[in-house]
């Protein structure tokens, strides 16, 4: 078996700031990898580079044997709407707020050639159910949904085409703690059921513990420590990881 996504030697500077400073990363099929680190450590930048949204100054990204950085935009967009999914922290960035829940879920199906209204609608209703939203809300606009529901809708809209790799950037970011817990449970169940590979960016150590098989700790654009989740969280080696873990315990 070979990694689904493999990055080597990623570098990206914004002026004097090294947002990525020699990052290597592998994600294996069915694996959930969390990237943790405080704000400004380069997590979002890494996600954008891995998904081809931003070009690094140096390094390589290979997905399933294809050179992500070298491919043209048509090929990259095709990957985006078939093999990949993206769940944004702010649902406004991931949803069409003026389009019904059904239209939001159906968009990826239609973008990949679905042309049967009844089937698209049935798939959308089914996905609402799977993310625990009443299918009666199929024709409602996302702006009538709570924050947690919007995030679940975004997940349904992303997973409807069964992507192989999903990028999630702080998916529980703006939500209340109780709502966060429910969303994390849902993500965990869907990931296991669909056998997804996930790259999860979070500064929430508890979320990483719940979802991730493996953790990478980032600081100043570098991966300072990585390993199996329990090992990294229970026996942190790097002083920065120790600080991260204890500050959570203290909180």
């Amino acid at each position: 078996m070979s990694p689904l996504l493999s990055a080597r030697g990623l570098e990206l500077r914004f002026g004097r700031i090294a947002a990525l400073d020699g990052v290597d990363l592998d994600i294996w099929p069915g694996e959930v990898v969390a990237i943790v680190g405080e704000s400004g450590s380069g997590k979002t930048t890494l996600l954008r580079v891995l998904s081809g949204l931003a070009a690094p100054d140096a390094g390589s990204v290979i997905f399933d044997g294809q050179d992500v950085l070298g491919m043209n935009e048509a090929a990259r967009r095709h990957l985006m709407r078939t093999q990949w999914g993206f769940v944004h922290q702010n649902p406004r960035d991931g949803l069409r707020m003026g389009v019904s829940a059904g239209g939001n879920i159906g968009e990826r199906l239609m973008a990949t050639g679905a042309r049967h209204y009844g089937n698209i609608r049935a798939a959308a209703a089914d996905w609402l159910r799977r993310v625990e939203i009443d299918p009666e809300r199929l024709d409602a606009l996302p702006r009538t949904f709570s924050g947690g529901m919007q995030q679940r809708l975004q997940i349904a809209r992303t997973l409807v085409t069964h992507p192989r790799l999903v990028f999630m950037d702080e998916p529980t970011g703006g939500l209340d703690v109780s709502v966060q817990a429910r969303l994390l449970d849902l993500i965990r169940a869907l990931v296991a059921e669909l056998g997804l590979s996930v790259l999860l960016v979070t500064h929430d150590i508890a979320a990483a513990r719940l979802l991730a098989h493996r953790i990478l700790v980032m600081r100043h654009g570098q991966v300072v420590e990585q390993g199996l989740t329990d090992r990294v969280l229970d026996d942190p080696q790097h002083p920065y990881t120790q600080l991260l873990v204890t500050s959570v315990l203290a909180a």
């Binding site: 935009e73 709407r81 069409r96 019904s100 239209g103 968009e107 239609m110 042309r115």
Partner: protein, 308 residues
């Protein structure tokens, strides 16, 4: 692209210039260059047209000029017409199907004056037809060019406000969003509620706005023998559908596209096939339905009268 060089000769069987519906060729006002625009501008517009013909349905930017008419009066269509017109052309101008609205009359008078070309109200006699809001009912021929006035060339503009993003969507044929719009129509109204400016795919590649013609006219665009040219003055875009090109209205398998017309016969000619306008006949709310295409209707009435 003078008419002699690049356009097939006028349709045979037409009536001689100056007879019937046609107003004969005039000596053009020599205070203007032929057809108003200077030769280099016409060449620039012809290049845009040729590019448009080479990439059916693709919007080509062009350096739109100030015209002696305000935007909204079809300055894009007028510039296209001015660039393709030759001295022996016969021009018809229609506005919502009629030849006698202020808009149509002014544009015809303009070209009689600045190009001295013959004009006509008869579809069969015209070599160039400039139109707003309709396609003639009579099947157009290889010898004709249909020029559309286009207010907004971008079919995605209501769905995606960022111009760079719409360009990218065209470049990648990434049109899922347009189907989302049709999906929303059906979810809300039970059917596709778009009855004007109904989006089409040209040659299986480019999504195109047909301009604000009724969806009823869309099927006429498909494999039309005439060349179809589209000019948007304010938005500075030209696009084209070459003769016999496939033009398909977007739809769903279980909600197929249907050209809609009012379920009546024309009160004047009895047609049950043509697109109808509702006309108020008195101040007590009385109304009748008549053909929107006046030439088509007049011809049918004449044929009926001759048969009786």
């Amino acid at each position: 692209m003078t008419s002699a060089a690049a356009k097939p000769s006028p349709p045979s069987g037409g009536r001689g210039l100056g007879e019937g519906g046609a107003q004969g060729a005039y000596a053009h006002d020599t205070g203007y260059n032929f057809a108003y625009l200077d030769e280099s501008t016409k060449r620039m517009i012809r290049r845009a047209i040729l590019k448009g013909v080479a990439i059916p349905g693709h919007q080509v930017p062009f350096g739109s000029r100030e015209m002696p008419l305000p935007y909204g009066w079809g300055t894009g269509g007028i510039q296209v017409t001015a660039s393709i017109l030759g001295p022996s052309d016969v021009l018809k101008v229609i506005d919502q199907g009629a030849d006698d609205t202020t808009n149509a009359v002014s544009i015809r008078a303009f070209f009689r004056r600045v190009a001295g070309v013959a004009t006509t109200e008869r579809t069969a006699e015209a070599t160039v037809i400039q139109t707003r809001h309709r396609i003639p009912e009579r099947q157009l021929t290889e010898g004709q060019i249909l020029v559309y006035q286009v207010p907004m060339p971008e079919p995605l503009f209501r769905l995606e406000a960022r111009v760079a993003e719409t360009k990218r969507m065209h470049a990648l044929a990434d049109y899922g969003l347009m189907h989302v719009k049709l999906y929303e129509d059906i979810a809300r109204h039970g059917h596709i509620a778009t009855s004007y400016n109904y989006p089409v795919m040209v040659d299986g590649r480019y999504l195109m706005s047909p301009s604000p013609i009724p969806a009823f006219d869309n099927p006429k665009m498909d494999r039309m023998p005439a060349l179809q040219l589209f000019g948007a003055g304010r938005e500075k875009r030209i696009y084209a559908v070459p003769p016999y090109t496939a033009v398909r209205s977007l739809d769903f398998e279980d909600h197929p596209f249907r050209p809609i017309r009012a379920p009546h016969a024309c009160a004047l000619c009895g047609s049950r096939e043509s697109y109808l306008d509702e006309v108020i006949t008195d101040d007590r709310g009385g109304k009748i339905f008549v053909c929107s295409d006046t030439d088509y209707c007049t011809e049918r009435q004449a044929t009926k009268a001759a048969a009786e």
